[in-house]
Symmetry: C2
Subunit: 228 residues, 2 copies
């Protein structure tokens, strides 16, 4: 990746997706971008060190979609028309819902793309096999629900005691608000640390580590298969 990195990121706009899953992660990452920092006259020295982020908003069609809350949102691309990207950000929906064929193909097209999942986003895309063999976090309450229903894909190594997990190209957060902590870790890994520190201050983010995870108790005694 170039320094400063240039990243294109597709945000999957599922109907009824959890709005904060997408926006917590997306907006926190975006606050590190050159385009965002250009609006702050007193820190112009940070702009050349900041990443260039290009966002695409992708859905099955270009029809307006509604998330769990908020106004209707307009996709910019369909799964068929979205250009190749470096990263895909997957917010959560009801994990029992099937993925569309277009979305499945989009997720499987490039085996090197960086996947960022938040909350049940990982449970949903686990249907496609793209997470098989990876250590992955998810919403703990939903993980338990999937185990109870006998619907969990146990080829994924589900991690029940972490707020976020990175395993190769797969970056996964636990429930909803953990997506911001995932974004903070992603930023620490890829972006200039002076930029990262400034964004933490202006966002007044209280960064949570991956462990200890205060919600690990939800999965105590639950059989996640190969997970740990």
């Amino acid at each position: 990746m170039a320094t400063p990195p240039s990243l294109s990121i597709a945000v999957l706009l599922f109907p009824d997706h959890q709005n904060l899953d997408a926006v917590g992660t997306m907006d926190y990452l975006n606050s590190h971008s050159q385009a965002y920092l250009a609006n702050f006259p007193t820190v112009q020295h940070l702009v050349p060190k900041a990443p260039i982020l290009t966002w695409y908003f992708v859905s099955d069609t270009l029809d307006p979609i509604t998330a769990t809350s908020g106004p209707k949102q307009l996709p910019t691309h369909t799964y068929a028309t979205c250009p190749p990207v470096d990263c895909i950000l997957v917010p959560g929906i009801d994990p029992f819902l099937p993925l569309s064929e277009g979305c499945t193909e989009f997720l499987k097209k490039d085996p090197k793309v960086i996947l960022l999942t938040v909350c049940t986003g990982s449970l949903v895309i686990a249907q496609t096999g793209v997470l098989d063999g990876h250590n992955v976090a998810s919403n703990k309450w939903a993980l338990k629900l999937m185990v109870d229903a006998g619907k969990l894909n146990k080829a994924v190594h589900w991690v029940g005691d972490a707020r976020w997990v990175r395993d190769g190209r797969v970056w996964s957060a636990a429930g909803v608000t953990a997506g911001i902590d995932l974004a903070a870790e992603f930023a620490r890994s890829y972006f200039d640390l002076e930029v990262v520190e400034f964004v933490k201050v202006i966002s007044e983010e209280v960064v949570n580590p991956d462990r200890p995870d205060p919600y690990a108790y939800v999965l105590e005694g639950v059989d996640l298969g190969a997970g740990k």
Copy 2:
């Protein structure tokens, strides 16, 4: 307020508003609603205890707006057409920008409306006088910038050492991510506590208290006027 409470909330969709300011607060509150919890078959006993939340998305016109990140969003009402509401949620924009006349009138129309501000939202609406005499939090980095520029409305009692503040009808959060903690405190104050606890678990929210505020240092030695 009835039990379970029924609340109508207008979210101000300023062009270029910080997306996470609005969505952190809005989506976290919305996860307590009857409409949201109705999607969780195993906790149907919580639905009758949950609040009924009605959301309006309000801007100067009905033209699509873009926030700091994310796709275009479609307002449902203009300031002129929005029905009376119980609460107004104000995300942050550049605090040096003037508010439109329509927005100013909307904010001043009902002196009993509950105001929720996040980040620079409080600095922006302080122009109208609606916060005068109240204890109010804001983005600390931006507060310092306003002081340095001699532009701070010192009729407001700015609070420099709290992550969020409630003073009567005014609920204010400090920078961006503090809006989720403000929503959590609002929920604890108005909603059924069993519902509040469930939402905390499914959102895996690590709730931050108002004090000690890890970013209070940003305003040490800065003259906020009557604030504390």
